[in-house]
């Protein structure tokens, strides 16, 4: 690679070239101004030679030819260090001007990253960078420590118009006019001088000029004098094809054509002049100077001796001049001379010589601690290395050294550092070390913001160009740069940088970065008045939930400001305030299914379906079975899409969430809907085309359809971080196809809208609950076929309680309304939990609540129940004559009984059919759903044990625990259900419960006598004479409630609930004589807190206990009847006692029973000590062969334990002829006579018998068997053995 061909090489060949100082008189300028140019400007284009082709010799006499050459011309006044402030100002102007050019591009979108990488460097890099860099480098020119800016020659120019031109030439060299460099000795004042006489042809012929020229030649020497004739074109209309001055005039629009007075001859004269001046004067002069200096330097500094001497001498110089200003090195000092030598050699492209000298001097400067000069030399060394294309490392090392040294100097080295840095960067760029170049740019940045802004921007481009491209760095540095531009009010530049950064950060998930970029760019656009773009950017940052509250407020405030500045409403598709949670989207619509409340609508569809099964003839929507033939109830179109009814609202529940901590007001929230009338449009192709692509279309949708649909609008405010579920409704008024498109809302004048489709298309997951047909695409869920109005039943239960204590019975009223004029028929109702809710009787209004419950004298049992037309599965059919129409509601009584303590969900479905057969919908259902929290109240349990002494009498223990949290109860009544059982108190009424009520947590036990009434009815006259007449179904438990009428447990509500309870508990509804159902009626104490609700209304609680078993498991029960005490004179004979056993068969089958009173003989044999009795036994056996035998004592164990005292043990034997086997009919009793013989006084336990029973199944037994099989827990045996009850008989010796 040719170093000279690189950008840096070119730059160096232009910048590090000999300087010629121009001294001219004002009249010279006057002549030139006619061309719109200054004298220097006029000459400049001709000072640049691409191939001057001057033969030269190096110091070592090597010939070479100089090709590229350039002279830099400066007026004497410009040969000085530029004022920094002025330079800065100029730079600022350049930047500002460049910024203004950007105007048009700003609004366009930033390019994509991929495009960015593809496009070439020159496209991306703003063109003014190069110019600006040049300007920056020039700010460091004409410094004292570098000699390449020191004038090599001097061009003295005098016009032919001037008087006494010769004197004017001499005046030029008046010292007061000359630059300080020459005067203060920093450079050699003896420089090449060239004398030029300018003649303006407008002023007449050149005769006078040639006269002056000859005069000049005689004075200054022939070679040094020239005549230049300009302005030969009289009419000033010269046009130049390739304007040579164009590139030299940067600023100012050329009002005047440049060089208009110069004709072709003039231009060639200019060319010749400069060529001659360069090749004949400047270059030979420099060559000569290089030669002389080289010799001097060689003499004093080259060679081993000189070096040692120099080192020694330098070391001795202990007090180096701290002043880096350079006054210690005058032009005559050897150091300066070496530097001049180096620079001259450099300018003459003899880089090796230059490098050698630079190297030589750099150590000197370093030792002298002349840092600025040292840095300058290092810089030049690096450049020389670069141009020689030698050791890159060296070049870089020198550059870095120079740069760092300049930086160390502080502000005085700043310009130089910048220049050095720029060169360094160029060097790195040439070698494709963009990353390093970027870091150098970064280091150039000074405190001055504008400067560093430009540098950072350039750095960012370096990152972009580096391989591989470092996009993140690119973005970051652009942002840094933009930030600085903003601080210096270069907003356009700032926007430009941020815009470019956006292409990197567009899709970033780094939230703070995104917010920062969008927020600032939005702000700046607003400053410039591009409100549209500003709003667009601000929208991006609005939903910044991660930011602090203060930042959020700031964002919001700025957004609103910009928004107001824009002065119009926007339709913003992606407004993030508030955020809509699409997963919360729920569409509730009513086809044939209608809902009484939103609560009901939220219940799972499958639950309703299962309830509806019995209710609905054939449900077209419910494909319970694939074999189901689709009925022709609805046309296909309707079946496949969601159906809604015109005039009925579709509810859409959407969750709005405020992502900010700042409250935001939202207004005019409504749905965007589309109602198309024509049927053809409904085809699916339409749905696929996105109609929201452009805003106009969107507007149409909203505005045009406003007549045919009614949209609800909401205003609300969302607090910080708040979520709100908003229920929006749309009511189509006409038939057609309705499509829910999205939601729109207003956020302080900014209309945001949100389309469901866009999201749904992405998330095809099942979302809402109310998806009627899962196999359809989600899009179709938002499409509805609107059919013409059909009647709709509305209903609710009046004042449904939220809480109730378990057992509480309350009357309720179901209110049904039909707003339309069409009538409906075939009302049916189904209740999910008949245990909790029972349907009352229309004829018995609830006003007479008490009467309904009280026991009346004319107790028509079951009469009310007959009125309820109970269909199968608990479906209730309303009477045919029930018509609901217009305003008159239908009221229907219901009974609520909180059965068990739990949180209980009640579902009610009311089915009805349309009277109008032509309507599309044949039937509809109304779904009601209620929630009831049931609190625990009394806990009742029963324990029944048979009375040992009485047949079919039982002792009932009722344990009542009050488990309520705060309520006391008064237990008022216990009833048995059915006719089979009667119950009576065991205690006097006052003594049952002392406190009359059960307070919280209190437990209490009651005891009752339970009697089987059937037994008494069958043979009451003969066998159970002691059955008291007060045995009744009901027992009053509380003395206070005696005044209150008894509650009829067999009447409508209670009986219904009881049936449900039985269904709940028991498995079969069959009557079982061995079970008894109890109903406990209790009342809350009036003094308690809840009495304020309805104190006049008696509150009633009922607790049901079903299938309480009478304790025995066998169907056979018996009792022994006989004397308990007997006096007998044993001295005369043994005692014979007659007993009677009454056996009852409570089963429905015939029982064969055998009683065996004897024990096995073997047991007797095993006890030989008892042998004394054996003969007697045998004797008795002989006497009564059917008698079983004898046993002594209670049991063999006790007998053996009594063995030592065996003799006094009193004993008895069963005697008498007892029929041991007999049949007993179902539900019948019989008496068996029995007899024992006692031989000595004592107390005897007559339990030593065994009853074997066997149920025959021939008649009516089979169903019992079935029942048994179906209820395995009910272990009713078909046969069994029972041992006898203890029956104690005391026989005393009569005196």
């Amino acid at each position: 690679m040719d170093p000279a061909g690189t950008p840096l090489g070119k730059m160096l060949l232009e910048e590090i070239t000999p300087v010629v100082m121009v001294l001219r008189t004002p009249s010279v300028e006057e002549a030139c101004v006619k061309n719109g140019l200054s004298f220097v400007e006029m000459l400049s284009p001709f000072c640049n030679f691409s191939n001057i082709d001057v033969p030269l010799r190096t110091s070592s006499d090597q010939p070479y030819r100089l090709h590229k050459f350039k002279l830099r011309l400066f007026y004497e006044s410009d040969v000085r260090q530029p004022n920094i402030e002025v330079a800065k100002e100029r730079l600022k102007q350049v930047i500002t001007k460049a910024g203004e050019k950007e105007n048009l591009e700003l609004i366009s979108d930033p390019p994509q990253v991929s495009n960015l990488l593809d496009s070439s460097k020159s496209e991306l890099l703003p063109s003014w960078f190069e110019y600006l860099n040049k300007e920056l480098i020039r700010t460091a020119s004409f410094s004292e420590h570098e000699t390449f800016d020191h004038p090599v020659g001097c061009l003295l120019v005098v016009s032919s118009k001037d008087e006494q031109p010769i004197n004017r030439f001499i005046d030029h060299f008046n010292t007061n006019k000359l630059p300080s460099l020459l005067n203060d000795g920093a450079m050699d004042p003896k420089i090449l001088k060239h004398y030029l006489l300018v003649h303006d042809n407008h002023d007449g012929s050149s005769e006078k000029a040639s006269k002056i020229l000859s005069e000049m030649k005689s004075t200054f020497g022939t070679n040094e004098c020239h005549l230049l004739c300009i302005n030969s074109s009289q009419d000033a209309k010269m046009e130049h094809q390739d304007d040579p001055w164009a590139s030299y005039k940067y600023d100012g629009s050329p009002v005047q054509r440049l060089g208009c007075c110069l004709d072709v001859d003039d231009i060639s004269a200019l060319k010749d002049l400069m060529h001659e001046f360069s090749s004949k004067h400047v270059i030979p002069y420099m060559e000569q100077k290089v030669r002389i200096l080289n010799q001097q330097v060689s003499a004093t500094r080259r060679g081993f001796r000189n070096q040692i001497k120099n080192l020694w001498w330098r070391k001795g110089k202990d007090d180096p001049n701290e002043m880096p200003s350079g006054s210690m090195y005058t032009f005559s000092s050897i150091e300066s001379q070496i530097r001049v030598l180096g620079d001259h050699a450099f300018m003459l492209h003899d880089y090796e010589l230059a490098l050698a000298n630079y190297r030589l001097i750099s150590t000197d400067y370093k030792l002298d601690k002349a840092w600025k000069r040292y840095a300058g030399v290092q810089e030049m060394m690096a450049l020389a290395y670069f141009l020689l294309d030698q050791s890159r490392k060296e070049a870089e090392y020198c550059m870095e050294n120079a740069f760092n040294t300049y930086l160390k100097l502080g502000s005085s080295g700043q310009q130089n550092a910048t220049r050095c840095g720029l060169w360094w960067i160029e060097m790195l760029k040439t070698r494709d070390q963009y990353k390093e170049a970027a870091s150098v740019y970064f280091r150039i940045c000074s405190e001055e913001l504008l400067h560093s802004a430009v540098m950072l921007e350039q750095a960012s481009y370096c990152y972009l160009f580096s391989k591989p491209p470092m996009l993140y760095k690119y973005g970051f540095h652009l942002v840094l740069s933009g930030d600085r531009y903003r601080k210096t009010d270069q907003i356009k530049h700032a926007i430009r940088t941020y815009r470019s950064a956006l292409s990197v950060y567009r899709e970033t998930t780094w939230s703070y970065i995104r917010d920062h970029v969008h927020f600032h760019i939005g702000q700046w656009y607003a400053l410039l008045g591009f409100h549209d773009v500003a709003v667009r950017h601000m929208l991006q940052v609005l939903a910044c939930s991660h930011q602090s509250k203060a930042t959020q407020e700031l964002f919001l405030r700025d957004f609103l400001q910009i928004f107001q500045g824009a002065g119009k409403t926007f339709e913003v598709p992606g407004l993030q305030l508030p955020v809509i949670d699409i997963s919360s989207l729920k569409v509730v619509f009513e086809d044939q299914r209608t809902y009484a409340s939103s609560l009901a609508a939220s219940v799972r569809e499958s639950l309703w379906r299962s309830l509806e099964e019995d209710l609905i003839p054939s449900l077209p929507g419910a494909r319970t079975n694939w074999l189901d033939v689709q009925t022709k109830l609805m046309p296909k179109r309707l079946r496949e899409s969601n159906v809604c009814v015109a005039g009925e609202a579709i509810k859409v529940v959407v969750e709005f969430k405020n992502p900010l901590q700042v409250p935001i007001p939202i207004s005019n929230v409504s749905l965007i809907c589309e109602l198309s009338r024509s049927e053809e449009e409904i085809s699916d192709t339409n749905a696929s085309t996105s109609e929201l692509a452009n805003d106009e279309d969107h507007q149409r949708v909203v505005s045009s359809d406003s007549g045919s649909v009614i949209l609800s609008e909401f205003d609300f405010s969302l607090g910080g971080g708040e979520k709100k579920l908003v229920e929006l409704t749309v009511t189509p008024k006409l038939e057609g196809t309705l499509k829910l498109v999205g939601v729109r809302w207003k956020f302080s004048g900014c209309v945001g809208f949100y389309t469901f489709e866009s999201i749904l298309l992405v998330k095809k997951i099942a979302r809402g609950k109310r998806k009627a047909k899962a196999k359809q695409s989600p899009l179709n869920d938002l499409k509805f076929v609107v059919i013409k109005p059909v009647p709709k039943l509305e209903g609710h239960i009046r004042s449904f309680p939220e809480k109730a204590y378990a057992g509480h019975i309350q009357p309720l009223i179901l209110e049904l309304k039909n707003q339309s004029n069409c009538s409906i028929k075939n009302l049916k109702m189904k209740i999910s939990h008949p245990r909790f809710l029972s349907i009352g009787n229309k004829e018995v209004p609830h006003v007479d609540f008490r009467a309904c419950l009280e026991k009346q004298s004319d107790n028509k049992q079951g009469g009310t129940r007959a009125n309820l037309k109970k269909a199968s599965q608990g479906v209730f059919l309303f009477p045919e004559d029930v018509a609901i129409k217009g305003d008159k509601p239908l009221l229907w009584p219901l009974w609520l009984r909180a059965a068990v303590p739990e949180n209980f969900l009640l579902y009610i479905i009311i089915y009805y059919e349309m009277e109008d057969a032509s309507s599309v919908m044949k039937y509809r259902t109304l779904r009601l759903h209620y929630n009831l929290q049931v609190l625990p109240s009394l806990d009742v349990s029963f324990k029944i044990s048979p009375c040992p002494s009485r047949l079919q009498e039982f002792l009932v223990r009722m344990d009542v625990v009050n488990k309520a949290s705060s309520q006391s109860f008064q237990v008022s009544q216990l009833s048995t259900v059915g006719d089979n059982w009667g119950i009576s108190r065991l205690q006097p009424i006052d003594g049952i419960i002392p406190s009359q009520s059960l307070t919280v947590g209190q437990a209490f036990s009651f005891f009752f006598m339970l009697k089987s009434r059937r037994l008494s009815s069958v043979d009451a006259a003969t066998h159970v004479p002691d059955l008291s007449p007060d045995v009744d179904n009901d027992v009053i438990l509380c003395p206070g409630s005696v005044k209150e009428p008894l509650v009829n447990a067999t009447h409508s509500p209670l009986a219904n609930f009881h049936d449900s309870e039985r269904l709940q508990h028991g498995i079969h509804n069959q009557k079982d004589d061995n079970t008894v159902d109890f109903v406990l009626i209790s009342r809350p104490l009036k003094s308690d807190t809840n009495s304020e609700e309805d104190s006049d209304q008696p509150q009633l609680f009922s607790h049901h206990a079903c299938y309480c078993r009478t304790a025995s498991t066998s169907p056979i029960s018996w009792t022994m009847i006989g004397p308990r005490t007997k006096y007998h004179n044993f001295s005369s004979s043994f005692c014979e006692i007659n007993l009677k056993m009454t056996i009852h068969n409570s089963s429905d089958a015939i029982a064969s029973i055998s009683i065996s009173t004897a024990d096995s003989a073997g047991q007797s044999d095993a006890l030989p000590s008892q042998g004394g009795w054996k003969p007697v036994v045998k004797e008795i056996k002989a006497a009564s062969p059917k008698a079983a035998g004898i046993i002594a004592g209670n049991s063999p164990e006790s007998l053996s334990s009594l063995k030592p005292v065996a003799s006094p043990v009193s004993s008895f034997i069963w005697s008498g002829s007892s029929s041991s086997n007999f049949q007993l009919g179902p539900r019948s009793s019989t008496d068996i006579p029995m007899q024992i013989c006692v031989f000595s006084p004592g107390t005897y336990d007559l339990s030593s018998y065994v009853l074997n029973w066997n149920l025959r199944q021939d008649d009516g037994g089979c169903d019992q068997l079935e029942a048994k099989e179906s209820n395995p827990e009910e272990t009713r045996k078909l046969s069994g053995t029972c041992s006898g009850y203890p029956y104690f008989l005391t026989v005393l010796q009569s005196v």
Partner: protein, 82 residues
């Protein structure tokens, strides 16, 4: 010297999955975004470096003024930067 440190876990595709600002120093208003910017920019360096070295912990790979970036690169190419 109390300076806040920022700790970010970055998943593949340079998506930040965890962010934390640690430290007790008084927080500058723009600290969070500056940190993000610096760390985000450092990813460029990491991407280069991660493939050239077998080390998982890359110390001081990038710096911006007085902010120093160190990275722990996991095998799954998840980065922990601070």
């Amino acid at each position: 010297m109390a300076i806040t440190a920022s700790f970010i876990i970055v998943s593949r595709n340079d998506i930040p999955i965890y962010e934390a600002e640690v430290g007790s120093a008084t927080k500058r208003e723009d600290a969070a975004q500056l940190h993000q910017f610096v760390l985000h920019a450092a990813l460029d360096i990491v991407q280069d470096l991660a493939w050239t070295t077998s080390a998982m912990f890359l110390k001081n790979i990038d710096r911006f003024n007085d902010l120093v970036v160190s990275v722990y690169v996991t095998a799954g190419h998840i980065l922990f930067i601070y």
